[in-house]
Subunit: 440 residues, 2 copies
């Protein structure tokens, strides 16, 4: 069963690979039309999901996330498909070109990866977005969404398949699977599946990596930090720390820890603590910070301070109005602390000094390294990518917000006129390579 799904995806991928951008755009416009026309059907399925979630006593905020009828969510989802369609074609772009010899030209050309297996959460609108990104980038995709939205997913993917009939894209290019059992069987299909994209917890991503030979582009937890240097403008620092922590606590680009230079404890800590406390944040602090807060006597500190911060608190994704706070000696120790505790997602420094900022940006090994800006800017829309598959915490292929480019790879196309290596140096011959840059 899983093998059959993977085979269908693989053969669909071969058909999809050479399809022109114009035809991919037409297919996405078709999908947009079918989803628009099928709104009633989709919302009905969505209602069934919400009712099932209520029966299963799913927490109210989670049920809210399932609701496709809320506000302009449905229209935003539809618009997202058109937005992806109108992005520049990510395929067939020449990123390197070299004349090896007269009549022997080498081109590095972007191409689809092939078959993607994307495992994502329950927000029903995500399936339309991922489908659009996969088709636009010429990849076949096997989708597995969180079970709470299964009826919505089934309704949407059913319409997607109907929409693909009569286009150049085989309906087998988009397949929805239902069970976890199928996922674990699909993870064995490394002959047919080229990339697994799990969006979820660290545990999910680690467990998938343990159970497959297929490359994994992990989208896992975000353990983001803000480091405040002693020369930072204190109001700017407070605004950045509060935004990073509180703008959307459930986001992976929200800050989970605050590091403060030791020499800034007197000058900066009271303002930072007050700003966080006023924003409703609980502080998990080291004994040193605790002592310093006592001396400063900031209003509300006593009730906002919860327990004593241990090392593991700097490796915890609170996903709530809680932040771990510690002092460090300076930028070097901040870099070291972040490199050993963070999830290499996004980390920010607040400082007036370009030199200190550069040290931080070049020393921190995270996909996003920010100077005087909130960690929350780490996002495909804010980066100007139009949309994103998610924010990769992997260290190869694609890091940070992954747009269409992250779903492509490249091939070397060599266009010759009958050359053989035996004529060239290094393989028995005398001819030298020219290796002249070709203007792209």
């Amino acid at each position: 069963m899983a093998e059959e799904i993977a085979q269908i995806a693989s053969s669909s991928s071969a058909v999809l690979r050479p399809v022109s951008n114009a035809s991919r755009v037409t297919a996405l416009q078709n999908i947009h039309e079918y989803l628009r026309a099928g709104k009633g059907k989709i919302l009905e399925a969505n209602k069934a999901d919400m009712e099932a979630a209520e029966k299963a006593n799913v927490a109210a905020p989670l049920i809210k996330r399932l609701d496709l009828s809320k506000g302009d969510k449905f229209d935003t989802m539809l618009q997202g498909v058109l937005d992806v369609a109108s992005l520049p074609d990510p395929l067939g772009n020449v990123t390197f070109a070299n004349r090896l010899d007269d009549g022997l030209d080498l081109y590095r050309v972007t191409c689809p990866i092939g078959v993607l297996l994307v495992i994502f959460e329950s927000r029903p609108e995500v399936i339309a977005n991922i489908t659009a990104l996969a088709i636009k980038s010429g990849n076949a995709v096997i989708l597995k969404g969180g079970k709470e939205s299964f009826h919505s997913f089934a309704a949407i993917s059913g319409l997607v398949r109907e929409a693909l009939e009569g286009t150049e894209i085989p309906p087998g290019a988009v397949q929805l699977i239902e069970s976890r059992q199928e996922v674990s069987e699909l993870l064995k299909q490394d002959k047919y599946i080229d990339l697994v994209v799990p969006r979820g917890s660290n545990e999910l991503v680690r467990s998938i990596k343990s159970n497959t030979k297929i490359p994994v582009l992990g989208h896992a937890d975000g353990l983001c930090s803000v480091y405040v240097h002693c020369d930072a403008d204190v109001d700017m620092a407070a605004r950045i720390v509060v935004d990073s922590k509180t703008n959307y606590v459930a986001a992976c680009n929200a800050a989970e820890s605050l590091l403060l230079q030791r020499s800034a404890l007197q000058s900066h800590l009271p303002t930072l603590a007050k700003a966080l406390i006023d924003a409703g944040v609980s502080l998990k602090v080291t004994p040193e910070i605790s002592e310093s807060l006592k001396q400063a006597d900031v209003e509300g500190t006593a009730s906002a301070t919860i327990g004593s911060a241990e090392d593991k608190d700097f490796e915890t994704e609170f996903l709530s109005l809680t932040i771990a706070v510690a002092a460090v000696e300076g930028v070097e120790e901040a870099i070291k602390h972040i490199n050993s505790h963070s999830s290499k997602h996004t980390d920010s420094i607040v400082t007036a000094s370009k030199e200190i900022a550069d040290k931080f940006l070049n020393g921190v090994d995270s996909s996003g390294v920010f100077w005087n800006a909130s960690t929350r800017f780490s996002d495909g829309f804010r980066y100007g990518f139009g949309t994103e598959v998610g924010i990769s915490t992997s260290k190869i292929h694609a890091r940070g917000p992954v747009g269409l480019e992250g779903l492509t790879c490249y091939q070397y196309q060599l266009r010759g006129t009958g050359q053989v290596v035996a004529d060239y140096v290094g393989a028995g011959g005398k001819k030298e390579f020219k290796h002249e840059n070709i203007d792209i």
Copy 2:
């Protein structure tokens, strides 16, 4: 033990990361000097390896490959270190820049991956090359070479570590390990190791992928094909097929199968078969090809034809003067055959038609797709990359010949002036993003 090795590599990587290109070049020049001065010591160790291999009855051609004193091998190895040193700095290059808003600039900047675990074969000169590539690209590396060259490896890596003393690069950035046991323990250190680069058989690469959560950049078998279309110049086709097959049979970019358009059996097969037979190649042919050869009555066919080619012969890396031959209906069937049988390494078409060639180049899902050129051109030196870690058969991150660029990744550096997302659309505010291209 393995954890300690990985930890040392990781902390060395943090020191190496911000080191300037000038200092990395100095370190490589130091290594060059130490290896030059230590030539006697290295050749002595190399002799011990060769004697051990002889005692163990290792095949003569393999012993030849171990011999560092042969010809200009040693000097070429030394020169390779300087060549890598003089390549452009692969780090700190801005590959994308976008003004998100006034005073909020986003840069995508190339950076090292971190810690590499490279598993390679026994050719002793390879260790110097990989060491040079790792240091130049700012990565710490853990090296495991084939056991036949262990003494040579130990002598070279000992000198490398001595050479690094007194440079900005910590000696822990280059570590040699000895046993397979250590490899399997290191494969568990996904907290510290960022990328495994195995160079070897498909079995080795698959086994490593099965046993680690660390991303794997596989350098495995090459199952390369040449497809000859009916309109191909027959002499050009013969030259390309012979070169692809015979120039260096042990190479991964050597051809293992020949596909011929059915309508070209009479016009092309006799010449192609004769050229291959004259070059000492044995043919493993399908019944259809066998029949056609009989009719053509090419001299020597009988003794050169071995057995009847089955499907599995088109999935076999012969690494010898043997080639599997089949007829296909046309370019579409050739693409299908290659996509389902080849190892997605390098495949070539010989045709006079640009249209047919484009169909092939856009349809074949391999890292190298060639038109009218030998598969043997698939190589870092020939591509103009200066040198290579190997030829990747992975489909993400880096495909084909992997040079310095394949050992880097990128970070997004955001340089702001105090911005928070709460002021912008989508996160509670009204400010719009500008998303203006910044000239790089």
